[in-house]
């Protein structure tokens, strides 16, 4: 059954999206296994076990998804040796035991995992994205700050955090490589389903962190909706001004920025309504709502003028617009 495309956070739907992604991973690996057999090769026995576990709702780590994408890219590109080696590595990757959220700094991960995450996040030739560990001495504090913000958000807007934790398995705290020449707030990647990167230096205070959680988890949510078709059908060759970036972006990026702006607005509005904020935090949240509304309007105008939306993209955007309409008329 296809998931509902309504706009507000829905933890049960997020669980279903996560399950679907893992089942699709299992089916894809099974197809690769069958293709290997047809070619006179065999799948590692441990990988057959992984496929069975995934098919029975076993929890896959973001690393497993990353290994799958790297292995499949290699095999599709006829790099058979590297592809099979990556499948071997995937076969040895442990399943997750439960849904406990892991919050770590980049350097706390094994080096080969750091390298893989770097490669898969740095996939846009127009926008290099190189991550490094947070500065020495900031690690524990940044983990604590994120956990604290998440706890506050759970108390104030539980459905946002429940949805977040249905999809996100790992929060990886990073800094940007100074050589890339720009700063970033966070990031996530379709090929690392369940992982979310947060820049420790980019968030001053709980309101900014809570908005970042809403921002990045909305990107991951959109990934979850796009298993069978993309959000936009544009070829991806044209570039447009993005409300959330200072560089020109393809239409898929504009779509993401528009939708996540609506989700950020929703989260800020629920935070304000919760009564859990101090007076200065309430002012900050209110100001962010106005910025989110302006960003949504700018992105939506670009989509309306230029985008070819898939059915999934259209329905999701309609839901975002229905929520934002009272606020965008005020912001106009």
């Amino acid at each position: 059954m296809l998931p509902s495309l309504h706009f507000p956070p829905d933890p049960a739907r997020a669980l279903a999206l996560d399950l679907r992604m893992r089942q699709q991973l299992a089916q894809s690996l099974a197809h690769i296994g069958q293709s290997l057999e047809n070619s006179g090769r065999s799948l590692p026995g441990a990988l057959t076990t992984r496929i069975e576990l995934l098919g029975r709702a076993g929890l896959a780590s973001p690393s497993m998804f990353g290994l799958y994408y790297e292995a499949t890219s290699a095999l599709l590109g006829n790099d058979v040796g590297p592809g099979l080696a990556l499948l071997d590595e995937l076969a040895g990757a442990p399943m997750l035991e439960d849904r406990t959220l892991s919050i770590v700094t980049f350097d706390q991960m094994p080096r080969n995992q750091q390298a893989r995450y770097r490669r898969l996040m740095d996939t846009d030739p127009e926008t290099p994205f190189r991550i490094v560990a947070p500065p020495a001495g900031l690690g524990a504090a940044s983990v604590g700050a994120f956990a604290s913000a998440l706890k506050r958000l759970r108390a104030a807007v539980p459905e946002t955090v429940d949805e977040f934790e249905a999809i996100i398995r790992e929060v990886i705290l990073v800094s940007g490589d100074p050589a890339i020449g720009y700063d970033f707030a966070g990031g996530s990647c379709y090929m690392l389903w369940g992982a979310l990167f947060i820049n420790v230096g980019a968030h001053r205070g709980d309101i900014e962190l809570m908005e970042a959680i809403a921002h990045e988890s909305a990107h991951s949510l959109l990934f979850g909706f796009t298993v069978d078709e993309p959000l936009v059908l544009d070829a991806g060759t044209q570039r447009f001004a993005s409300p959330l970036r200072d560089d020109l972006r393809p239409m898929d990026g504009i779509y993401h920025a528009t939708f996540v702006s609506a989700r950020m607005h929703w989260t800020m509005s629920r935070l304000l309504a919760s009564g859990e904020l101090s007076a200065s935090e309430a002012d900050e949240a209110s100001a962010r709502m106005q910025t989110d509304a302006r960003n949504f309007s700018a992105g939506y105008a670009t989509l309306r003028a230029h985008a070819q939306l898939s059915a999934t993209g259209q329905q999701l955007l309609d839901g975002a617009l229905a929520y934002m309409e009272p606020y965008t008329s005020e912001a106009a």
Partner: protein, 48 residues
Amino acid sequence: MQRTIQLDASKLLGFKLVPRAGFVQIGAKIGKVPPAVLGAKIGKAPPP
């Protein structure tokens, strides 16, 4: 004797999203996945 591995992108998570105009034939090379669809979504920090 080992033969060419033939994968059907329409059966592969993520790779189904390649636009129709560039839809993969069985066994064809597609190289790197399209960054706009599968690549990183990076939230750039606003200027100070």
